[in-house]
């Protein structure tokens, strides 16, 4: 027996909505991973923070990541309004700040090895948290690069809407994670 499938069914399940919902579910599951890692700080070393933690660097990294969230937001807004060149510029700026952030964390690690190596309690927490986070930053930069490559020759939105939206949401998620990592690692005492 042939089952009757109405024509309108395919249009009802909009793939864009499914993609968006799927991305949010993924972000929630990834957030739970960060929550577990953040809580480990309190189990391993309590609330104490060594004196040698570089406060200026921590604040600088935070400001850098917040600014990159603004450029990512502007990239998405420009793309949605059809300003493709503007979106590409903002994507490049976001990627540039992401790369700077990675170098900043690299410098932090260089200093951390001297004062609290991974064999110490705080070193374990710092290298684990920043290591997992910077991995997210690197994948974010690569994703933004992929999106930039994909839209480099386009003049209209076409089927690239979710590519831009998804990559930018991922970047904002990385920023949200840092919003909690920063006070946990640098500001508590």
């Amino acid at each position: 027996m042939t089952q009757h499938v109405p024509q309108h069914v395919n249009h009802r399940f909009r793939s864009l909505d499914i993609n968006r919902l799927g991305l949010w579910l993924f972000l929630v599951s990834d957030a739970s991973f960060f929550i577990a890692l953040l809580s480990s700080r309190f189990f391993v070393v309590g609330t104490s923070t060594p004196e040698h933690v570089d406060q200026v660097l921590g604040l600088g990294l935070t400001i850098l990541l917040l600014l990159s969230s603004l450029t990512a937001y502007k990239a998405e807004a420009a793309f949605e309004h059809g300003d493709i060149p503007g979106a590409k510029k903002m994507l490049l700026a976001t990627m540039g700040m992401g790369i700077l952030f990675v170098f900043g964390v690299g410098y932090e690690w260089h200093e951390a090895f001297k004062h609290f190596p991974p064999s110490t309690g705080f070193g374990t927490v710092l290298f684990t948290l920043t290591g997992v986070h910077v991995t997210h930053v690197v994948t974010g930069v690569l994703t933004l690069g992929f999106v930039f490559f994909r839209i480099r020759n386009t003049t209209e939105i076409g089927d690239n809407q979710f590519a831009v939206e998804g990559a930018v949401k991922w970047w904002h998620f990385v920023d949200v994670a840092w919003v909690f990592i920063y006070p946990t690692l640098y500001l508590l005492k």
């Binding site: 006070p183 500001l187 005492k189």
Partner: protein, 87 residues
Amino acid sequence: MHKTLQETLKLGWVVIGVLAVMTIAEFIVAIAIDDTVVLFTLLLIIALAKAWLIVQYFMHFGQLWDHVSELWDGIISNSPEADTEED
């Protein structure tokens, strides 16, 4: 109602301004307060507020419910009962 590009960008600047002020506030709080419990509580409140600003305004969390309701409408109207009614 859709915002113009200028309005959207203006909103972005306002949000980043508030985030910057809150970041400076948490830095000052960390220097000024010695009580661990008070400091932890204040830093947690500030971090939650900053995260909410990013999730709500930069990640458009509010729009998620529109997407879910669109999907839900699709599922409901795709049920056999709905098809029978439409046929």
